[in-house]
């Protein structure tokens, strides 16, 4: 187990370098730089001063090495756009918000997805199943930013039940709309996986045995069925967590949540190179970590899996 973990962590290093290299090349290959200002084109002398200040007048490979070197030593550089802040400050300020929102959305997904999937499996080919699977199709086909817009229009503008947006922590009512908007799709994905795996489990011999022994239907499903059906679902959840944290760009914008996803959008349109590189690295790190955790969870959940 320890050796396996060490090997996976070591492999993460070249992955990160590849991500950095690709991100660096893409960022610099995209037309337009941080000071190709759309509103007021700058005087040439002013651009020269800015480039000198941020080392953008150095050759590309120097910039590549310089940023990597600084990043390894913990300095992610100043933001080109938000000049009063360093990138690490921006991440420290906004990333926790995305983490909290992601956690809330994931809890919502589990709280909705597990019962939904269970009901669909137990009442297979009945209206309950069709309704649940209908919700799944909706969840998979409606992008979360459309969902967010719909929720704001209905519950804030028309019904006045909740504010249209903002962020005051997890315990405030404002969390509801972004939470549901981000969590709905993962909820339906979980339901879909759970339905399939529960159906498979319910046809196993030991379920028949349990029933034959006279156990109540709900007990069979909850104790014996669900427990075994959840292994593949746990795997999917891990990947969905990474998805939920890194994929909330537009929902954060629409519902005015000061998270890191929003920053990715503004940094892209503003060509804020250091922020873009840092966020690419951060998101890569989250996805790699979640993948490792998922693989480790196999061993915990399924006794047949062993890592040597």
């Amino acid at each position: 187990m320890g050796a396996y973990l060490a090997r996976r962590l070591l492999l993460a290093v070249p992955t990160m370098v590849i991500v950095y290299t690709l991100a660096f090349l893409l960022v610099h290959a995209t037309p337009g730089g941080p000071w190709d200002n759309a509103e007021k084109p700058l005087a040439p002398q002013v651009i020269a001063n800015l480039k000198a200040k941020y080392h953008l007048d150095a050759p590309l490979w120097t910039q590549y090495v310089l940023y990597l070197d600084n990043a390894v030593h913990g300095s992610l550089g100043p933001s080109y756009v938000n000049t009063s802040q360093d990138v690490s400050e921006i991440i420290a300020e906004f990333f926790p918000v995305s983490m909290q929102l992601g956690a809330a959305a994931m809890l919502f997904a589990i709280a909705v997805g597990i019962p939904l999937g269970t009901l669909a499996a137990v009442y297979r080919n009945t209206p309950v199943d069709y309704a649940a699977m209908g919700a799944v199709v909706l969840g998979i086909s409606i992008p979360n930013y459309v969902m967010a817009t719909l929720l704001v229009t209905v519950f804030a503008v028309a019904l006045h039940w909740v504010p249209t947006g903002g962020w005051r922590g997890l315990l405030d009512i404002r969390v509801l709309i972004p939470m549901v908007a981000i969590g709905f799709r993962p909820a339906t994905i979980l339901a879909r996986y759970l339905r399939t795996s529960l159906l498979e489990v319910l046809h196993q011999d030991y379920i028949r045995t349990a029933r034959a022994k006279g156990l109540a239907g709900s007990r069979v499903i909850l104790r014996h069925g669900l427990r075994n059906a959840l292994t593949p679902v746990a795997t999917v959840s891990g990947i969905l967590v990474a998805d939920v944290i890194t994929g909330s760009f537009f929902v954060e914008t629409i519902t005015r949540v000061p998270g890191i996803g929003r920053y990715f959008v503004t940094a892209t349109t503003g060509r804020d190179y250091p922020v873009l590189l840092a966020l690419a690295l951060l998101f890569a790190l989250i996805i790699i970590t979640m993948n490792i955790l998922v693989d480790l969870s196999y061993a915990a959940l399924d006794p047949q899996v062993r890592y040597g």
Binding site: T30, P31, G32, G33, W35, D36, N37, A38, E39, K40, P41, L42, A43, Q45, V46, N49, L50, A52, K53, V81, N82, T83, S84, Q85, E93, F94, V152, T153, A156, V157, A158, L159, H160, W161, P163, T164, G165, G166, W167, T253, I254, R256, P258, R262, V265, T266, T269, R271
Partner: protein
């Protein structure tokens, strides 16, 4: 307090009695009373002022970058920043100077040296005295190459400024700005610049507190460290969430009625402010978008709360005038396109009345504006000019490509122009929308622009031709890369910028404007404007026509009882 069933009550699903009963069952009686009262009187009947504690304006904004006058450049910073600092002088809507931090000013006979006399006894928000040296330090700081200010070029009229900003001179000692004594500031120009007072009224010329800048470096702009000399001061700033400014008790001038402005910060106020306003989370919206305007106008409540303001600026189609492969190098073709453009239809139908038609380039309110365009004759004249240019009935017209940085209004305008010219002149043009940065990179490459014409706009920093003719169309500037050169135009606008006599100055710029609007290196399309919604209890709020006129905008607001 709001109850979920309030909406049912409003839409008539439940009666008022049921509403009150429901509310009484759950909420406290006091809350119901308050809520019921607000229902009985949705519009304030009596215009009584709200109590000081309720003198709060809830306003949308983008996350500002910072409030450092040296590097402020965009609206989110400017609208708040101009409440936090006092410029030396400002201008009223008629172009008259209003003294602020400077109680008087004078210019030497040769038009080169400006002397500003500061008010005695002014204090910064932390109690430091405001002195002429503060201004001297601040102005020189903008020019420091290490500060790398985008707006350093605004200071180039000052003698020695360009050399210092370029790094030719290592210290700021040769920049001709000097605090003669505690309350007297003197600035000497490299050449006469009649528009210098206008420049001084802009945000980059506002002072910074040297002791805070030196102590906290770039962190001096954060709440707690920030010190200003304006009517309001920065109280709190939660990034990307909320920012609060409150009346500054140390301000030298009249105290505002409004005590506090709470800015809700989002990265897209254009789209998020209208729903928030409808849900009563904001008192004012940001610019209402073309997609929403029809619904807003038709809405019984919202329709009455919308206000339209002029924003000094013009959207134009800029032409590459020297590329001989392009038909646009022929002035007659440009004139034909201009005359075949139905400006009224574009403004009122395509853009749904948000903007006004622009028949000439310099916008109203700025010296040089022509109410009557020099070119007339409409479509008939347009066809004749196109024929004279060698394309009778559009025959043999090689076409050209129009690009623009992605923006809804430009999308609509470009498609409308394509259709109009096809219908009237029987010519084809191709359209290519570009992502903003991609467009700007192509624009900045200058020589290799992948289009023959592009649509863009210019909004005034301050309402003066120095912010138009001189920096945009003078052939030495060629700001828009039209490569247009006209000696008579250059002579007129250069004379205008130095001319101290107002009548003569106006005449010079109007003659230049006639040349510009006959040659048409840029085809004017619409003048900028803004439509916003304002709650009925907000009194005295009006959007200014240019960025430098933001001064005092919040100071004029009063909140009525509601």
């Amino acid at each position: 307090m709001r109850f979920p069933w309030e909406a049912y009550y409003r839409s008539g699903l439940i009666s008022r009695r049921q509403f009150l009963k429901l509310s009484a069952m759950i909420g406290s009686t006091a809350a119901v009373g308050a809520s019921a009262a607000s229902f009985a009187r949705p519009e304030p009947a009596a215009a009584a002022l709200a109590a000081p504690a309720k003198q709060v304006l809830r306003y949308p904004d983008q996350e500002p970058l910072h409030f450092d006058p040296a590097t402020m450049e965009a609206r989110p910073e400017i609208l708040i920043g101009m409440a936090l600092f006092d410029p030396l002088i400002t201008f009223d809507g008629n172009g008259n100077i209003i003294p602020l931090a400077a109680r008087s000013w004078s210019v030497s006979a040769d038009g080169l040296t400006y002397t500003f006399h500061l008010r005695p006894g002014m204090q910064w928000s932390d109690g430091h005295p405001v002195t002429a040296s503060d201004y001297e330090y601040s102005w020189k700081r903008v020019l420091d190459p290490a500060v790398a200010s985008d707006y350093a070029s605004a200071f180039y009229p000052i003698k020695g400024a360009l050399d210092y900003n370029k790094g030719k001179t290592k210290t700021a000692d040769n920049v001709a700005v000097k605090a003669v004594n505690t309350l007297t500031l003197q600035a000497t120009m490299a050449a006469p610049a009649a528009y210098f007072p206008r420049l001084v009224s802009t945000w980059n010329f506002m002072p910074v507190p040297r002791w805070q800048v030196e102590k906290y470096d770039k962190k001096w702009v954060e709440a707690g460290n920030h010190v200003g000399n304006g009517m309001f001061k920065l109280q709190s700033w939660e990034h990307d969430k909320e920012l609060t400014i409150v009346a500054n008790p140390r301000y030298w001038g009249p105290k505002p009625t409004l005590q506090k402005v709470v800015f809700t910060l989002t990265d897209d106020p254009f789209r998020t402010s209208l729903p928030a306003y409808e849900n009563n989370e904001l008192d004012v919206t940001d610019q209402i978008q073309p997609a929403d305007i029809v619904r807003v106008r038709g809405d019984a409540t919202l329709g009455k709360q919308t206000h339209k303001y002029r924003w000094s600026g013009t959207a134009m189609m800029f032409c590459d005038t020297t590329n001989t492969k392009s038909p646009l190098s022929n002035p007659k073709v440009r004139q034909a396109l201009y005359l075949a453009t139905d400006h009224t239809r574009i403004a009122s139908q395509v853009l749904r009345g948000i903007y006004d038609p622009a028949l000439t380039i310099t916008p109203p309110g700025t010296i040089g504006y022509l109410a009557n365009p020099p070119l007339t004759g409409g479509v008939a004249h347009a066809r004749q000019l196109l024929s004279e240019a060698g394309y009778p009935d559009g025959k043999g017209f090689p076409g050209f490509k129009i690009s623009w940085p992605k923006l809804v209004t430009f999308d609509l305008v470009a498609q409308a122009l394509q259709q109009m010219w096809q219908d009237t002149l029987k010519i084809n043009v191709t359209l290519q929308r570009m992502e903003a940065k991609e467009f700007q990179a192509a624009f900045n490459s200058y020589a290799t622009q992948p289009y023959e014409a592009y649509i863009n706009r210019w909004g005034s920093d301050y309402e003066d031709p120095a912010n138009w003719a001189n920096i945009l169309f003078d052939s030495e500037q060629d700001f828009f890369h039209t490569k247009w050169r006209n000696a008579a135009y250059d002579t007129a606008v250069r004379a205008g910028s130095a001319e101290g006599n107002a009548a003569k100055r106006k005449q010079l710029y109007e003659s230049a404007e006639k040349i510009l609007n006959t040659e048409l290196p840029a085809i004017p399309i619409f003048h900028l404007g803004v439509i916003i919604a304002i709650k009925p209890w907000v009194q005295g709020f009006a959007l200014p026509p240019a960025a430098a006129a933001w001064y005092g905008t919040f100071g004029r607001v009063k909140i009525l009882d509601h």
